[in-house]
């Protein structure tokens, strides 16, 4: 029995050691593409919902807190056509944050209601010291108003997502 216990202890210790090595992670965020359906122009304002897969934050070693922000540019078609960024809205519902592994005290959404994005970064999730050190999935939501006067064409916007450790 004693011998078996020693082997078991070694096995668990090895597992923990490998886990620590694989998890000597830096604070990082993995995003998934955000897509919108093609909008058939009708001469009226239209609202479309964006689709994305879960994003993932790995904050395993971020013991002193962190936050993530989002900013966006206008949708432009390269020929002078613009859908202003104020038409692009974003939110992250609290129930759309889930634990993958680590601290069960989840990070907190800072933006649970739709607000328009802008070129100024908006904090959308954060964790204080003592919480949010782990791996978490988050599923943000996007909504875009396509104004009636929009011309047909392909429009491009750039999202900038930043995850930071700081005061």
């Amino acid at each position: 029995m004693k011998k078996q216990s020693v082997w078991l202890a070694i096995f668990v210790a090895l597992g923990a050691a490998i886990l620590m090595v694989t998890h000597s992670a830096a604070l990082t965020i993995a995003t998934a593409p955000v897509t919108f359906p093609d909008v058939f122009l009708t001469g009226y304002d239209q609202s479309v919902l964006g689709t994305t897969s879960p994003w993932q934050v790995d904050s395993t070693d971020a013991l002193d807190g962190w936050n993530a922000t989002i900013s966006a540019t206008n949708f432009e078609n390269g020929y002078g056509g613009i859908i202003y960024v104020s038409n692009l809205e974003f939110r992250l519902l609290a129930e759309n944050i889930s634990l993958v592994s680590g601290n069960p005290l989840l990070p907190i959404s800072a933006q649970t209601e739709f607000i328009p994005l802008s070129e100024t970064a908006t904090k959308f999730i954060s964790a204080e010291s003592g919480s949010g050190d782990g791996i978490y999935n988050l599923l943000p939501e996007f909504r875009l108003r396509v104004p009636a006067e929009t011309y047909a064409g392909s429009y491009l916007s750039t999202l900038t997502i930043t995850i930071s450790a700081g005061p």
Binding site: L8, V12, G15, I18, L19, T22, A25, A26, L27, T28, I29, A30, T31, A32, P33, T35, D38, V39, L41, V48, P54, W55, Q56, D58, D61, A62, L63, D64, W66, N67, T69, F75, V100, S101, A110, Q111, E113, F114, I115, T120, A121, T122, K123, L144, V146, T150, A152, G153, S154, Y155, L156, S157, T158, T160, I161, T162, S164, A165, G166, P167
Partner: protein, 360 residues
Amino acid sequence: MIRRNYKKTLIFSVILSLLFFAAPVMAQSLADISFGIRPTTAQEGQEETFSYFSYRVSPGSVFDDAALVLNDGDTPVTLKLYAADGITSQNGGTDFTEYGQPSEGMSSGSSSWITLSANEIFLNPGEEQVVPFQVNIPAGVNSGQYVAGLVVEAAPEMINIDSNSVDDASQLVVETIRRVGVAIVMDIPGEQFAGLEIKNISLYQQSEEGTTFAVEVQNTGNIFLQAKGFFIVTDRNAERVITTTPLEFDTVLPGDTVTFYVPRAARFADGKYLLSIVLEYEGQRATLEGIGMNIKNGQPQLEGQITENIFTPEEIEVFFEKAEKDSSFTWLIIAGISFFLALALGGFVYWAGGKKKETV
């Protein structure tokens, strides 16, 4: 019997270990690239330096340090690396300007105090690289807390544009730039003071989902700060408090003006109201009281400051005392539930132990 228990323990350990091993794999399956930056060493007695750089330094000092840049993804990655001014994001919290952009607060230009030894890094999967940098504090800089940052940025993740899109349709494409930043706090000794001004309250929107207000505050001091307080809605005569929303405002960097969005999960009925905010920071208080709001046919309008000094200092104190009591009560309930759970668990273990003895 003992042998069977051992088997169970082993199976449990194996399942647990597999779960542990699977977690990082699952983490990386969502995106191929994963990278980050962090300090190489932490300073004794400064817990925050595990997460970001923090120095207490005199004007004119020059010193060296290093950051660790990692690729913990599955594919090689080329990263842009640069110093950026610290800024406060909307909703508070430290963020960093985009490449080459200055900030507007007290930390404007602080990125130029930092010289990096590399501006671009290529890393294979699992590779990490130490990047030395030098900090050069200008001789004439005023006292206070300046925040800059080191940022690593990956090239945009492009989505292909469909060239076969229909003529009368708009195709909407989004590309994403991912950045990871680590703050460099430079605390210059001398006179340090905290100051916070509530500049404005505006109604951002009222819809079926509820009401969102926007509160604009400015850090008028030379140290970064957080604030707690209340958003209070009263009737027009300030005789009845209609709703009180607790506020927790995250870090605002010195000199920055920032908007905090305050949601309320209900609509306001037609009528005239007064909006007020009281905030507590660094042992001081900031207030903005008596902003008029008139809602007619569901359409709200703000009317500027109508009344001042709605609440006496004693009444404001009551708000904070009540919040503290509520918080203590919550913790008391949590402690009580935990105690009974522990008691129940102890009882169960005792009962199970008795059963086992009977079997033997």
